[in-house]
Amino acid sequence: MLLEVKELNTHYGPSHVLQGINLSIAEGELVALLGRNGMGKSTTLKSIMGMVKPTSGSVLFEGKEIAGLSSYKVAQAGIGYVPEERRIFPELSVLDNLMLGIKGGKISNTNDPNAWTVERIFHHFPKLKERAHQPGGFLSGGEQQMLSVGRSLMGNPKLLLVDEPSEGLAPVMVQEVRNVLEQINKAGVSVLLVEHNLKVAMSLAHRVYLMSKACIGCEADVEEVRNNHDLRARYLEV
């Protein structure tokens, strides 16, 4: 397993927001984490990433314990994070935004033909190339999403945590973002995806975890979620 999360607990003050999360991702897999609002999907990603300190439990990445590490160490271990609302740096140019994604200034795997470089990012996102020297804040929502994905790819992660990539985007852009995630996964990057757009999530995911209040309710394959009405009614439909 590339990532194994075992009995992960997280508290926000007195509230117990993650209660014993268990999940795993194999190399090359694209796994979706689904559920209604406020169930703890984003918190799960943040707890893995070290942006929120879990109170107990274990996160093994390539067999190494990373739970509780500062997020820069988690990133250096090989996990990329594409946050909700993109969080690009609005005052820096598109190119500078990308360059910041190279972890800690070390250009990793430069001799590896599969390494992500600025050229390769621009090849995947031609719109970013056109706007390479404009401030990130000038981009449209969809372009900012591309930039956010591209920025985390610059660190050559083995696993990408992607939080709500299609939120607030026009339908055309949603499709584009979806295709990009598919390409990235095909290029060998594993993905843990939190996504509200069920159609997008189901068309991408190999496997699905369904969350209910602070817990993983069940693990399912995509066909099951598609065909099992009970399951959908219980975890997803409002």
Binding site: S70, A75, P83, F89, E91, M99, L100
Partner: protein
């Protein structure tokens, strides 16, 4: 030249000099306060401490230049120590930062009174910089011109650092989103430590260059510290341009203010701040809501 005009010009140079010194203090404060969001009430105390260090170095070596080089570095080291040993424990809580740094400022002031006493200590400017220089038939105080030049050089250095180096880009990115920078694999705490050191060094430099003008005394921090905070707020968090422009305006307001409406001079700065904040609540060059 008409003596009235020449008085105005010299007064203007005095104002710009004070503005430049304010800029040195404020831009140091700005990267600490603006980038890391740390309310550092001890900033001006470090400035004052550098003035005393310089005084001491000059007492021992008789050389102002040694003081100019070493006092700010010494103060920067102390600043980094404060950040590493104490500030890190209360990071994120503004009240905690406020109380802690005010406490440290008090300790510094008390220590200064204990070691150097409460009297004003004169700091002789080096011969090279004392006296007047005559340009186009007018006499200018050399030391003030030196301070203006030094501040401009520091500003250029900061601009290059912020806009041309990777470290600068990291710092600018951190102004808008510190947590995200960390999540990209950059050790933000290490960056913070560096920034804190540079910021305190700038305060120290300001403390040294202001010392021959105002002398060193335990109230020095109060006198310039509040002005520097006002500059940061009026210019906009994290903005060097804002700090620069507002510093110059403040310097001119206070020097011409003293000349024309002396009893109202201290109020002018506050009025200017109020007017700016009414129309631009985030300051002249302030970015979005933090």
């Amino acid at each position: 030249m008409n003596p009235v005009v020449s008085t105005y010009i010299v007064q203007g140079i005095y104002g710009i000099t004070y503005g430049m010194i304010l800029f040195l203090i404020a831009s140091g404060l700005n990267i600490i306060f603006g980038m890391m969001g740390i309310l550092n009430m001890a900033h001006a105390a470090f400035l004052m401490l550098a003035g005393y260090f310089c005084y001491q170095v000059v007492q021992i070596t008789g050389n102002f230049w040694m003081g100019l080089i070493f006092a700010p570095i010494l103060v920067a080291v102390l600043g980094v120590l404060m950040e590493q040993l104490f500030l890190r424990r209360v990071l994120g809580s503004h009240v905690g930062e406020l109380i802690l740094t005010m406490g440290i400022a008090n300790v510094i002031v008390a220590g200064i009174k204990k070691i150097w006493g409460t009297e004003s200590l004169p700091l002789q400017m080096p011969d090279l910089l004392s006296g007047m220089v005559s340009i186009a038939g007018m006499g200018y105080p050399v030391y003030r011109l030196f301070v203006i030049g030094l501040a401009l050089a520091v500003m250029l250095f900061m601009m290059l650092l912020l806009y041309r180096t990777r470290l600068g880009k990291v710092v600018r990115a951190a102004v808008s989103d510190r947590e995200m920078v960390n999540a990209l694999g950059i050790n933000i705490n290490l960056v913070s430590m560096l920034v804190f050191g540079v910021g305190t060094w700038m305060a120290g430099l300001a403390g040294v260059v202001i010392a021959p003008i105002l002398t060193v005394f335990p109230g020095l921090a109060d006198q310039v510290g509040m002005d520097a905070f006002i500059v940061v707020v009026t210019g906009g968090f994290g903005s060097l341009q804002g700090a620069f422009i507002v510093s110059i305006i403040f310097g001119l307001l206070s020097s011409y203010g003293v000349q024309f409406v002396s009893q109202f001079a201290p109020v002018l700065i506050v009025v200017f701040m109020a007017i700016v904040l009414v129309f631009r609540p985030n300051g002249l060059f302030g970015a979005k809501e933090r």
